[in-house]
Symmetry: C3
Subunit: 382 residues, 3 copies
């Protein structure tokens, strides 16, 4: 009894079952069959293995970006005389994170303090005091309405309690005050880590020397690895005109892509830089980029502020990328799944063979055998 | 010889091999078989093709968000009289990136300068000078201890060198100073690009006109595309009470979702906006959101600062989404993989057929044939 | 006629087709066959089900991070006497988002105003006026050149119009001014939501009490859930020396990982914290982290600023994670795909059986049957 069980187990382990096949010699079906098989094979080799590198396990990226601007701009501001702007003046936020703004133009309203005054006319007009609801503010209002409608230079506006004098932002300086920003340079430092593979890289790769950092300017063909970018070049790359972009501001996306094949030495793991226009076309509504910020100070014991409406280029730096490294498990799975797709050939060919060929009934008899020998169906000896 | 080789190659190319099958007429097994096949087919058509759009290749999103607040608040602050806050005062950071804070309440400690003074009692008490270690600071300390324990109004605290007078943050203003923030509006501009498909979209889609931007307020049913949000509406959407949230601050996540089917015209690619409570419930420990910031100024040649403990609503805007577009390769792979899953039906049915049916031995004989004719097993002629 | 059609349909539905197999009793091929099947089974159970949890549907995370620093530093700054720095002074930006800088050292240039002066010598020297192009700025220039080359203390530099006096950043304070930052603590609040599963969690999990938040310090073994981190501990964790990192600044990545199995109770969904050095090694070019920022003020009606070159530790907090929950569809697909991979065993064994075994011709005869009985090939009765 035990002997028989052992035999059964041995039978199971030393036995191999393979499907019995019918070989059909037919040019049409053969060509379809081999063509589909070839297509699947090309897909597995060409796409899964070579293009998608299906034999590699992958790792995602963690990254940190810091930015340092260089450049100085000067110009005359009406009422303020000649001014100069350096990196601490035109970078927001100053610490240079992966989303930042370079000021290219601005409207300053100096010496504001909290008091009662008229609004600027563009913020909404009134006909009489009844249009001005005390204690509320208009949608584009510059302060809290006192309830009075006041007339100045033929333009009636609601009187407000707010930061006075109210800002007048109807005239945007032309040419932009910091037109020289075209020559500003942006030094981007990007450190990445593939945590699973324990590989860390910086965009200051081996071929970038200390001397390069003093002299080089990024060029997508001649200097693709130089991490110092001229603002004017970036704006050209997204096919925009610098003066008009600088005047009303805009948004630019920068993608740093690290697609690394870690089966090669780490030094082959290099970044690529691309730029994308993210502010829409100038003929669309609500284009440009601007924001308001205030510098507070105290004069004669009274808190005052200089209000800046800043127009600028907002940069969003996005780091993408993944690393791949040979992995036996991954390779086996890629092969195994590929073999599964081979079944497609049999399915398609059987469909043709058993339904569209003239000899389809003959092939059916060869392929199928009834388990039950039913008398009403004459069965070919098989 | 060469002729035979050619014959062999032609044989290979014009030959098609298809498995020989046994047809079993059995209601139970037939129903199981067809039911599983139907389920797989429904899964492939319904889930893989219709729901997951397996026939499309996908692209991830790059995006840029900018935010512009509108609204003015006013109120009386004890010791400072009536104050007014506009966008430059209550937005942090002022440039309006995808993570920002709207101030809704604050505690101000005006005119601090670096000198020696007592701490506020909540920062830790002392009994004698021995409790105050000169040169160190307590965990919640407001400055560097001088080593003296001083008594004031019956509360002993360690004397410190620090910004004096020390902040007293025990009493949080109630109602919140900027309760009017409920009516502030938030204009969100979001530009996205699907880089691989070269499609760029803005959340100011075609149906949003310039006039809309002057008047509309987002409503998730009536105005789902209006990009202007009222703060009070957002807080309602996450089922919170504005005054209590405004008093101690909170965190709100906003998800802009772009799931685009680019087989349709681009104009069908629209954003949806959802809000999520990210600050926990008010009965949990350490709720709310606050931070300290300082406005520095110089008075009589001495550097001073006004310290603000700001309570506010922190918004994190997250842009998600992917685009899909018909792709022949992707379609073939989806079909091929689906056919692989059909094999499941055969595996399950064979299991039943060969192990659980009464006629299982009969079916085994029909299905299997031994390559070696072993005398000890009587084999049915097949 | 209709009867026959019905019969055909019934036939189709009550019929099951299973491939006919040849059973080969051969130790070698049997062992290969069962070994591959075992490997596939182990892969499906061990990897797909247990490791990757293929039976679960997954959800991605949305998250919000806020940071609060605690700690005070003091020290003597040459020319300014004893100074004290608290949280509002050393945190950039003050609102504590997921990317922030802790100042550890700085160079201050006090009382700058816009005027004409000499540059600092490190910014580029000149030999005569011809080296100084009026209206332009040098790559490392500190202002707009006036066209004059001026001599001071034997160092010729181009005269500039800019913020004067020009910054001298050649000597970085040693030891760093805020060396006490080693004892600063960082309280990290992280709220996450798995939107599809409607699960929200905070890093202040159930086992973290209000008392813990007063006393605990994170330790990766003893206090892995305490959300309060000592700066010195973090720097040790990435194997760096605090004083040298603090002097020139650096970048540290913090990963909060939420990998949650929501088949268990939510309370098992816990964060893990890891730190990564993102600023490279100190022997590389352009290490460290610094930026310039300015505090503006008005003295005697003139706008002035104090320029700070801030060296600090930049933290980037990245939240990763996904949740899994049992899903019937997902489970079925995982099993189905696994069965597809079983086909690998047959393909490999057929390859061996029909090409490498001595009895390969015999097995071929057993496995294949020609549909056409071709006279030139003698066919075994099958």
């Amino acid at each position: 009894m035990c002997h028989r069980l052992l035999d059964g187990i041995l039978d199971f382990f030393f036995e191999y079952e393979t499907p019995r096949m019918v070989t059909v010699r037919n040019k049409h079906i053969g060509i379809i069959f081999r063509f589909i098989q070839l297509a699947v094979l090309m897909y597995i080799i060409g796409w899964v293995f070579l293009h998608e590198k299906g034999y590699q396990s992958t790792d995602s990226i963690i990254s940190s970006v810091s930015v340092k601007m260089k450049g100085v701009a000067t110009g005359n501001v009406s009422g303020l005389g000649q001014r100069v702007w350096d990196v601490a003046d035109y970078t927001f936020p100053s610490q240079g994170s992966d989303s930042f703004v370079i000021m290219t133009n601005y409207i300053v309203t100096a010496g504001q303090r909290e008091m009662v005054c008229k609004q600027h006319s563009s913020s909404g007009t009134c006909k009489s005091d009844r249009d001005c609801f005390a204690g509320q503010h208009q949608r584009n209002g510059q302060g809290i309405m006192t309830g009075k409608c006041i007339d100045e230079n033929g333009q009636n506006t609601c009187e407000i309690f707010g930061w006075c004098p109210a800002e007048n932002d109807t005239i945007i300086p032309e040419p932009p005050l910091l037109l020289a920003a075209e020559n500003f340079t942006m030094f981007i430092k990007n450190s990445i880590t593939f945590t699973r593979f324990r590989v860390s890289r910086r965009n200051l790769v081996e071929s970038v020397t200390g001397e390069d950092l003093q002299n080089c300017i990024h060029h997508h063909l001649q200097k693709p690895l130089c991490p110092i970018f001229r603002l004017g070049d970036i704006v050209s790359a997204i096919k925009q005109d610098f003066p008009s972009l600088a005047r009303k501001g805009g948004m630019i996306g920068m993608v740093i892509d690290w697609s690394c094949n870690l089966d090669l030495p780490d030094t082959h793991c290099l970044p690529t830089y691309t730029f994308h226009n993210l502010h829409g076309d100038l003929d669309q509504i609500s284009t440009g980029f601007n924001f308001r910020y205030a510098r507070y100070y105290r004069e004669d014991g009274i808190e005052k502020r200089d209000l800046y409406k800043v127009f600028g280029i907002r940069f969003d730096i996005m780091v993408q990328g993944k690393a791949g490294k040979f992995n036996l498990l991954q390779t086996t799975v890629a092969i195994g799944s590929g073999i599964g797709v081979f079944g497609l050939a049999t399915v398609v060919c059987d469909l043709v063979l058993l339904n569209f060929l003239p000899k389809r009934d003959y092939y059916k008899q060869k392929k199928f055998k009834n388990a039950e020998t039913k008398p009403q169906i004459s069965e070919s000896k098989d």
